[in-house]
Subunit: 139 residues, 2 copies
Amino acid sequence: MSDALSIGAASKSSGVSAKMIRHYESIGLLPLAERSNGNYRLYGPQDVHNLRFIHRARSLGFPLETIRELLALCRNRQRSSSQVKKLALTHVATLEAKIAEMQEMAAALKHLAQNCHGDERPDCPILEGLASDSAARCH
Amino acid sequence: MSDALSIGAASKSSGVSAKMIRHYESIGLLPLAERSNGNYRLYGPQDVHNLRFIHRARSLGFPLETIRELLALCRNRQRSSSQVKKLALTHVATLEAKIAEMQEMAAALKHLAQNCHGDERPDCPILEGLASDSAARCH
DNA sequence: ATGGTCCTTCCAATCATGGGAAGGTCAAGG
DNA sequence: CCTTGACCTTCCCATGATTGGAAGGACCAT
């Protein structure tokens, strides 16, 4: 047990904040941590591995519930890679849908801004586009 | 006052849900609505205009606090179009930053998925990439 | 023993939206 | 007149991920 880390050390080693480590434990994403004499949480190599896994998955935008499934698959030697791939590709599709949505927003907004003088006069196509009393929808 | 709408009618006419109309009022984004004898909220043409404005601004992804500023500018005849344009372009930059972030996520994930067989075997580069005991960071 | 740093728990805030309960109001029809 | 059903009211709670802080206990070095 000489390599057990405190939550602060595990946080530094994994990139997950101590706050979040406690939170993940509280929602059952991580197993209940071992405790020291002084009731401090203790983390072994496997725990740190899990934390790093979560950190990387979060940085790829996976929601926690999907990470829960990914962790289960990671532990399960009977898994099939198709299960993992399916989760990954579903997430890619989600990301791409959001990207497309935001690109539409940005394009529409740039189009409006393009015609705005941006000077001291009150005249503004952006506000007109938002108010659009003329109900001129783009299509 | 013959053209005053109930919250349900105003909702249909503006595209903003009744729940949200009440919420916007409660946070001061909209003025307190007039009330009927039976304490129902009543909405006139100007109110519906505001609701539509909010709906369009939300559909462009503006956060409520920015919409608050946009509404103030919309009401203010002394505004300068540069104020509006600044809010719009700041939001475009925010959108583009998020888009870029998500594109990186999607690209990294597609790269991992590309090498995954997606069959019944447990072997999986995606999980390996997330676990990455080999600590192979991309750069 | 004392200060500083770590830890513990709990509560609350963010952002925008929605769900639902418990009850009041209104218009139409029996 | 009374019921029915659709609408409205307020209030509380949930989402998703993270962060902030308060109040208190534990640890370690000087």
